[in-house]
């Protein structure tokens, strides 16, 4: 191995850069508002550059292997190590985290939600970014868990301080729900640890995710053990995703969160859960995965239809987008539940696409609210095309991407998940009939999805603008909005036309996982 020190340190530097930035910002006097916002942009830009450099130097020929590895002692007493690295599965999510982080920082340069307190707002956002990014590159269960939980506190405050009217309730609900799930996940991790392999050198058990994957893939864990522990760990992931019926925190949290809170929540945080399924639950406990897959598939199918019906009933624009997330994550989970290469590929693609599209939708809803000061669809009353033609155009574009129009990013994740459930992994005994039923339900879901999005566009964009809005002189899209949105709009198109950008990167890694599960 001839790894330069940059290769060793790249991930660490990039991951912790936002936290260091947050510490620097804490030292800036709080009346230097402009400087704080500027620093936020600079720090996230540097971190984004770091992520891009990693992505460029990444050897895509070996995308199934872990690269940029750093693996040093951390807590020798319990055998936890500081083990980070990146492979093809982590790469898209890692880069997306920094992209959305940067765009949020740019957006913040203009919009700091009430009650201001820019310093704390920017610092917490940066802390949040480190937590989310870290989850995707940690390869030690304890390190993974620490990053995972690191997200909780800043997100709680982002919602609780800068959220809208019902923020107190929404934030504590979010906190308690996710904490509840994740503590069981922690117990599951400990069970994996104590029943896992013993490190020859130290004589201790190991939290190393690669070692545990190898062990679990080789049938190291007993069948009943897998059933119990998969359940515990899946509970933690399922709450985060969120899978129906654990989703009830999400509409509240999303609706109340400030714009960039919603963007990061939908764009990245939800993916931590689905990533956990792919990275930890499936390969470490393949038998557990097979046993639970039909149930996960069923919940996913319910989620798709349920979310679509819920969306049809929403009066609040932001709440509608929030519920649409439940449906999209349903497709992601359906893909995972098929235990096929195409399904899991669909899942990862779906995660990225949903991050880009729904992140963008939340930006839009935030900006629309900024003009109208209402999120009630009835109150907006249509005619946005007339008042703000560009905003309305972008809104239509993104909504249509979200409903899965071919040629745009939202399409591939859904169609591949449905294809996956047409042909689930029969080698492990998944019931084809059952999965085809899921596929049909999912198909109905896509129609409903198209229905509620188009209906939403009809109610917001079209028709005659109510008189009360006409004299407001709404400003159409501002420069700062263009800057933070164009990358997402471009990605929506690029990923739609060239899905292989992501699919090729993740292919080898996904293949390995499916092979492990198939046994």
């Amino acid at each position: 191995m001839n790894e330069s020190s940059w290769q060793q340190w790249a991930i660490t530097i990039t991951t912790f850069l936002p936290i260091i930035g947050a510490l620097v910002i804490l030292l800036v006097p709080k009346d230097k508002d402009k400087m704080i916002r500027g620093l936020g942009v600079v720090v996230t830009a540097l971190a984004f550059i770091g992520a891009v450099v990693i992505a460029l130097q990444f050897d895509y020929g070996r995308s199934g292997e872990l690269q940029f590895v750093q693996n040093v002692k951390w807590i020798p007493v319990i055998g936890a190590r500081y083990h980070v690295g990146i492979d093809g599965i982590s790469m898209p999510l890692y880069v997306l985290t920094y992209l959305l982080g940067l765009l949020c920082a740019i957006y913040t340069a203009r919009y700091v939600p009430s009650p201001g307190k820019t310093k704390a707002f920017v610092a917490l956002t940066l802390l949040l970014i480190t937590g989310m990014a870290g989850t995707f590159i940690a390869f030690d269960l304890i390190l993974f868990f620490v990053f995972w939980e690191l997200v909780l506190v800043p997100m709680y405050f982002l919602i609780a301080v800068w959220g809208s009217a019902n923020r107190q309730y929404a934030s504590i609900k979010f906190f308690l729900y996710t904490l509840f799930g994740s503590v069981f996940m922690l117990l599951g991790f400990l069970a994996l640890y104590f029943n896992g392999p013993v490190d020859v050198e130290t004589g201790k058990h190991t939290f190393d995710m690669q070692a545990l994957t190898t062990f679990g893939a080789g049938g190291g864990y007993a069948h009943t053990f897998q059933l119990v522990v998969f359940g515990a760990i899946a509970l933690g992931f399922a709450v985060k995703v969120p899978m129906w019926p654990f989703h009830t925190w999400l509409p509240d949290a999303h609706t109340e969160a400030p714009t960039i809170g919603s963007v990061l929540l939908a764009g990245i945080m939800l993916k931590m859960g689905t990533y956990g399924f792919v990275r930890i639950a499936l390969p470490m406990m393949p038998e557990g995965a097979v046993a639970y897959a039909p149930w996960i598939g069923a919940l996913a199918a319910i989620a798709i239809v349920y979310a679509a019906l819920a969306c049809l009933a929403q009066k609040d624009l932001k709440r509608l987008i929030a519920f649409s997330s439940v449906g999209h994550m349903g497709f992601v989970m359906l893909g995972i539940a098929t235990l096929t290469t195409i399904g899991i590929q669909a899942a990862i693609f779906g995660m990225v696409a949903h991050g880009v599209i729904t992140g963008m939708l939340f930006f839009l809803v935030g900006s629309i609210y900024d003009r109208y000061h209402t999120r009630e669809i009835a109150d907006i009353g249509g005619g946005m095309s007339e008042l703000m033609p560009k905003m309305a155009g972008i809104f239509a574009f993104v909504a249509i991407a979200s409903l899965g129009l071919p040629g745009l990013a939202g399409f591939w994740g859904e169609i591949m998940a449905l294809l996956g459930s047409f042909n689930p992994n029969t080698a492990v005994g998944l019931n084809v009939g059952l999965y085809r039923a899921f596929m049909i339900i999912g198909g109905i879901g896509t129609i409903l999805t198209a229905g509620y999005f188009l209906w939403m566009l009809q109610r917001v964009n079209q028709g005659e603008a109510p008189v009360k809005w006409k004299d407001h002189g709404f400003r159409d899209i501002l420069t700062v909005e263009w800057v933070s949105w164009v990358p997402l709009l471009a990605l929506t198109l690029v990923l739609g036309l060239l899905p292989s950008l992501i699919l090729d990167t993740t292919a080898t890694g996904v293949d390995t996982i499916v092979r492990i599960v198939t046994g």
């Binding site: 807590i75 620490v146 690191l150 909780l152 506190v153 609780a160 504590i172 904490l179 503590v183 104590f194």
Partner: protein
């Protein structure tokens, strides 16, 4: 045997001498300079700490024929108690000076109680353990009633006293039974003696163990001996509450660790399930009742009860397997150390707030983040840490206990699940104070509050501690691991 190893005794001796000096010095201090007694005490504790440092790396020292042993366990706990003493002294300074209390007597009592704490981990003999425990308790009774004109203080102190004396009597009876059955006072000798018992004598021994546990269960405020704690904490001066919640409880655990893991370990099949029950009841009751509290010190008292439940959990994991026992022991010690840092910090903040708002309702914390950002940020960190959520040290404490429990398997898994649910419940009240501090407006408007320097220092140090433990957990785990060497033969 006439040679006494004074070096090994030095920390305790220095502290003991300081106790007397403080009492005498107070007589000669003019009324307005009584506060100087704090600095005399402070110097004495520093001296004891310095003496302790010279003992590190010196190996195990045995004094008084095995009644007093200085090993890693002793050193870690003594160091911990002395540091806690420094913190409590600093917290006390302004509170006592400005509150119109008898200061000389207070510091005398406080140091005496800490002397008991310092003796506790070194005591390896029933009599020594009893002496140490009483030395912690008796001054505590008096200090708890230091707010003499406050009816709550009197009520709390009296409850504390009556329950304390009752449980001590039961414990002493248990000890006498143990002695009668085994003819030994030394903990290792008791373990051997108990192993040889059978039939009705074995049953009697089990009853005796139960009696001894009662005394310590009172000390650590375990259910059903917990109900003095909220009243006493609330009625005491806040620094005394911090002493009771941290040092006094930790002393109880230090003694209990010795008894259960060394003297009574052979009878684990009898008492481990009892501890499981104690642990479950204590944490669940503490957490559920804490949810309804609206007074900060009472909230911390119930939080302390819940935390005692967590610390009791590893006792329930004890079995015939030495590795499991070592892990459980380590987890207990680690948790106590971390718990002390965050809880002392929380009490320091409460003390600072009590200066302006002695009633200490949760509403009295409203707007604190704006009024005193240091206190607001620190208190939030302490509460997050007590709830066991990263990025704070409390997380590692909980992780240690979870790990020991999962490793134990069987009952351990159920205990871990119950503790996990309890941890989530606890967020429901730990977030009350931060919520008031951050989201509610202070009735005084945006007026800044000056934090007294000594208190500010304590808050900063404990805050740094809580965060540093999070970043570098290995050091604290290592301390826990080292302390478990005491389990060896």
């Amino acid at each position: 045997m006439t040679n006494i190893d004074y070096h090994a005794l030095a920390p305790a001796v220095i502290l003991g001498v300081t106790v007397l000096v403080v009492l005498v010095v107070d007589l000669f201090l003019p009324a307005r300079a009584k506060a100087a007694a704090m600095w005399v005490s402070f110097a004495g504790v520093i001296g004891a700490l310095a003496a302790l440092l010279t003992l590190i790396g010196e190996g195990t020292r045995v004094v008084f024929g095995g009644a007093y042993v200085v090993d890693a366990f002793t050193l870690i706990f003594q160091g911990f108690f002395l540091l806690a003493a420094l913190v409590v002294l600093l917290i006390s300074y302004r509170y006592l000076r400005d509150g119109g209390f008898y200061q000389g007597e207070y510091y005398f009592l406080l140091l005496t109680a800490f002397l008991g704490c310092v003796l506790m981990p070194a005591s390896r003999n029933l009599l020594m353990l009893f002496l140490a425990l009483e030395l912690v308790s008796a001054p505590g009774f008096l200090m708890a009633t230091f707010r003499k004109s406050d009816i709550r203080g009197n009520e709390g102190g009296l409850k504390f006293f009556i329950i304390g004396v009752l449980s001590t009597a039961v414990m002493l009876y248990g000890m006498s039974l143990i002695y009668g059955l085994t003819g030994a006072l030394d903990l290792h000798a008791i373990a051997e003696g108990l192993a040889g018992l059978s039939g009705s004598r074995e049953t009697l021994a089990e009853v005796a163990i139960l009696f001894v546990v009662v005394g310590f269960a009172f000390k650590v405020s375990a259910v059903p001996f917990q109900f003095w704690a909220p009243d006493t904490y609330e009625g005491s001066p806040v620094p005394v509450a911090s002493f009771l919640a941290v040092a006094s409880a930790a002393a109880g655990f230090a003694g209990l660790l010795q008894l259960m893991f060394v003297a009574f370990v052979g009878q684990w099949e009898f008492w481990a399930p009892i501890f499981a029950l104690l642990s479950i009841l204590t944490m669940t009751l503490g957490n559920l009742v804490a949810l309804r509290q609206r007074q900060a010190v009472r909230l911390l008292a119930y939080s302390g009860i819940a935390q005692a439940g967590y610390i009791l959990l590893p006792f329930a994991l004890v079995s015939g397997d030495t590795t499991v026992n070592t892990a459980a022991f380590t987890a207990t010690v680690t948790y106590i150390l971390i718990y002390a840092v965050m809880n002392l910090g929380a009490f320091a903040v409460v003390t600072a707030v009590s200066e302006r708002r002695p009633s200490l309702q949760i509403d009295d914390f409203a707007g604190l983040l704006k009024a005193a950002p240091l206190l607001g940020v620190a208190m939030t960190a302490f509460m997050v840490s007590l709830a066991g959520v990263p990025p704070t040290g409390g997380f590692w404490g909980k992780l240690g206990i979870f790990a020991a429990a999962i490793d134990r398997g069987g009952i351990g898994i159920w205990l871990a699940v119950i503790m996990v649910i309890n941890s989530v419940i606890s967020v429901g009240y730990y977030f009350l104070i931060p919520r008031a501090m951050i989201f509610e407006e202070s009735p005084d408007g945006d007026q800044r509050v000056r934090v007294p320097m000594l208190l500010g220092m304590v808050v900063v140090l404990t805050l740094v501690g809580v965060l540093a433990i999070f970043v570098l957990p290995n050091a604290i785990y290592r301390l826990g691991e080292l302390s478990s060497l005491a389990l060896g033969p």
